[in-house]
Assembly symmetry: C2
Homo-oligomer: 341 residues x 2
């Protein structure tokens, strides 16, 4: 897991270079197709990438996005009207049985289908109309890291193809920002000691980083066996905040930008409740009082923050697993490819 | 909370009778409008109702459904193409600031807007093109129960209006099924003693009952301060199952039907891991080995199971709060109306 975390800047660069032309081609195709709906289909870590894609695509292209509920197709055999729909399957291995069933069914129902996968020779790559390949190299760790950020990279490229808010030039800066974020290694290695006995926690983020709350929580569940809740700051106030008492650990991902204010207000409320807060923000940001904070290096426009912001989270989970005496590469009960229907 | 749980059969009957004609009118309107996308907008318990609606509407009408991400509209001011879209706001009070902002924005972008609310004189009711009223009577408890099932009832009526799989005749049987489910009162009152010291748990369901996993978990968080995870049985296998060790409590909602087999297999796996399982199923079902099981009375077609299946969950949460010495009507840090943007 640790190796793969550090491979990310190069994997991102490789994916960007290999697929940037493809994005230009896809722009031409999409003009012709006139997509009016985008449906994203995924499970596990890839589903967290899909959640990111949902925000990015809606914000930057104006096309409504739906995250597919696979069982609607695989168990209930619904016949959805997918004319003018772009249906995107996301899977590291390309072998998720249910995801592939949804793609096949969507194609029959009129959708144009796209696969985002790390495996060029996978079932998913062969059945979709088009494939964007994540060039992360073989994933060896059960806990996905470089394939998650690789999927995010491809979703940036897809968004650039479908709209005008996200540019190839800005995307090209992401690998460098990822490298900067890795500089937090030593700081995080020391920080995790404090959380040696943490058994439950909540991760809170919003908007474009909401998916990262899910992804960090999933890493904490898989590799550290921490029962990790995850919420948007708004949903959190609609009920789950009742959980919070003195000492309850809450991790907040709050880059400067549109979501900062809501999260800063929540951090203040958590301080009143005497919760333990760990804030991930940027170097320059003026933060509310927090128990601990981690500053991601560089000035990052919010829309490009998700990759540099998940990297310290990945390091946090990997180091925490170590201090808990666990092997983050071999979570109990899990395998790299999970087949569900 | 307890009073409101027991008011449900009558509130459901009232809502059904008052809105059944409306469903017929809406059928005519929808033919004319030719909706190609349904977007559901909600927070908190109403968002769980929306998740239910998402499955029911896609399964029974074939129209793709998206659960809105409010911040896309309220913070990022995205301009989504909502022509031929039906945008449905769901809010008990009708005063959720962000939900109303999304409805206003959707209307400007071409959507036909519908409000599902308990309050006829609310902001939401006044700004939407049409209103389906939940007739649950004033909600006094902070933990929503009768308004949740009332929202589900309206979503059944809306589905009957938009498709042919759900019929008014079958919907008319729901209040009676709700009444039958309340017969579990004494059994559940005794059962909760076992969970007096439960601090964390996971609720698992799938398909049409997936939303109930979220709703039961939310009740446990709000009223019992139990850190309650919630997953589909498929997502659970893609990572979070690593959390499970001896004694970890997992609640499974598994009515007979399309989702039963996947949940039964998961229950067997959990038994191997020596987890503690609590299964909610139906009288006639042949269950896998479970630590405890609760049998919902009657033979219920799966598609109509969500209301009778959440009721024992509501009772479970309310009784558990009592044995933990908590007041389920006054969760700390919460109010009935939560305003977020």
């Amino acid at each position: 897991m640790m190796d793969e975390i550090f491979e990310q800047p190069r994997a991102l660069e490789r994916t960007f270079r290999a697929e940037r032309e493809h994005a230009a081609d896809f722009r031409r195709l999409s003009r012709h197709r006139n997509f009016r709906l985008i449906v994203l289909v995924a499970r596990g870590t890839s589903d967290n990438a899909a959640t990111f894609g949902r925000y990015l695509l809606e914000i930057a292209t104006g096309i409504p996005v739906s995250l597919a509920a696979p069982s609607v197709h695989t168990l209930y055999h619904a016949r959805l009207d997918f004319r003018q729909a772009l249906v995107v399957g996301i899977s590291q291995s390309g072998e998720g049985t249910d995801i592939n069933m949804v793609l096949r069914s969507a194609r029959r129902r009129g959708a144009y289908t796209l696969a985002i996968t790390n495996e060029a020779r996978s079932t998913m790559a062969s059945l979709a109309d088009d494939v964007f390949l994540v060039r992360a190299g073989r994933q060896r760790s059960v806990a996905a890291t470089k394939t998650y950020t690789g999927q995010l990279m491809v979703l940036y490229l897809l968004t650039a193809a479908l709209g005008s808010h996200v540019t190839l030039e800005s995307i090209s800066e992401i690998p460098g920002r990822a490298k900067q974020a890795l500089r937090l290694e030593e700081e995080l290695r020391e920080l995790v000691e404090r959380y040696r006995y943490m058994r439950v926690c909540t991760v809170v983020a919003r908007g474009i980083n909401y998916a990262n709350a899910f992804e960090l929580a999933l890493k904490l569940m898989e590799t550290c066996y921490v029962v990790a809740e995850r919420f948007s700051s708004a949903d959190f106030r609609h009920g789950p905040i009742a959980l919070i008492e003195r000492d309850f650990p809450v991790i907040l991902l709050m880059p400067p930008g549109r979501t900062f204010r809501a999260l800063a207000r929540l951090a203040e409320r958590l301080d009143e409740l005497r919760a333990e807060t760990l804030v991930f923000s940027s170097e320059g940001a003026r933060l509310p009082r927090a128990t601990r904070s981690v500053r991601v290096p560089g000035e990052i426009p919010e829309i490009y923050s998700p990759i540099p912001y998940i990297i310290p989270g990945q390091l946090f989970a990997a180091f925490l697993a170590e201090v808990k005496g666990l092997d983050p590469d071999k979570p109990r009960s899990l395998h790299i490819v999970t087949r569900t229907v």
